[in-house]
Symmetry: C2
Subunit: 205 residues, 2 copies
């Protein structure tokens, strides 16, 4: 866990460190990202870095969480309360997914960080960082699925753990495809529509 000392640092210095770390991890992922390079880039000594953070994984979890929170703040919540029927639910999901993808294309660095996170999340070396971030994302997915079940848009006969896994796996595939192909706006909308259609096919009762 990030030490409270770090939060007491002048905002500018916090920003310098966080920015250097985000840049490094977005460019090289967790494994190939170098803590030593972050230290050099941020102009801080190794001793200080270890005085602020428990280690590389801690720093990674911290900055990734920071960026994800920024993303979720920016995109805003999925308006779950106003949903009446199944179609409305899936339309809301599609809109939301489109917003997320737009945020990713607007910030390639965030997209790279997310891709790296998805790629590395299964690695046991990141177990604690993973748990820290899952606390942020999984309940969100779970709530969304539950809302879909409330309006009869999502099947309720399977363990939610399995459905969450499938949703994450499909989303990861879609993200990778969209980032790799980088289609125009129209084509992207089209692909997202088809993709949410696939998700609907997989999840509806």
């Amino acid at each position: 866990m990030v030490r409270p000392r770090f939060r007491k640092l002048p905002a500018a210095q916090q920003q310098t460190i966080v920015r250097a770390a985000v840049e490094e991890f977005a460019a090289h992922g967790f494994h190939d990202g170098s803590l030593n390079r972050v230290i050099d880039a941020a102009g801080v000594s190794k001793g200080s870095m270890y005085y602020y953070f428990d280690g590389k994984e801690d720093l990674y979890a911290y900055v990734t969480r920071l960026e994800f929170e920024r993303l979720f703040d920016e995109v805003g919540p999925l308006g779950l309360s106003t949903l009446g029927d199944r179609d409305a639910f899936w339309e809301a999901v599609e809109r939301y997914y489109g917003d997320l993808m737009a945020a990713f294309t607007a910030s390639p660095q965030l997209a790279a960080l997310t891709r790296g996170w998805l790629a590395a999340a299964a690695n046991p070396a990141l177990r604690t960082a993973q748990q820290e971030l899952e606390v942020l994302t999984l309940p969100w997915i779970e709530r969304t699925l539950a809302a879909g079940q409330d309006v009869g848009a999502v099947r309720a006969d399977l363990p939610s753990g399995l459905m969450i896994g499938v949703v994450v796996g499909m989303g990861q595939a879609m993200d990778t495809y969209l980032i790799a192909e980088d289609p125009g706006d129209d084509r992207r909308r089209e692909l997202i529509h088809a993709f949410v259609g696939m998700m609907r096919g997989a999840l509806q009762p």
Copy 2:
């Protein structure tokens, strides 16, 4: 690429090295697996190892491919020619998936290696190993999807690259779930049935 010299070694010594590498990578994955430990366990010098293989990634790709080929040989092909209608196609897929999962539970080491491979496949550091193995698996998935399209069981309005990605992503989620939960035989059959149902919902026209 593995050097031809390695194949000229006495079979026993090849096996010693391959076995040590499989053990190491199955236990720790690619990143956290140590080439030095493989070298120690196999009782071969570092110079010789680098005389046989280009490096760690090369060794990993080689032994993983070996294990996958063994798996595919064991499970055998999906009988595509005899398929008449959609239901028969999806039943064949379900049978095949069940066989794969049975092979995994029979050989936890192979399951661990596969899991590690799926987890690490997205990492750019493994690009060449990834391509080497995709040559083995992707055409197989592609052919299966094409056979499904022939009998009208799989939609034909999406790029196959996207569908392959989605299938792999869903499969990965299912594998992870099954390995983590380790249900009994009946429950596993049940879950696989539901899972293939989800896949069908996602892929059918």
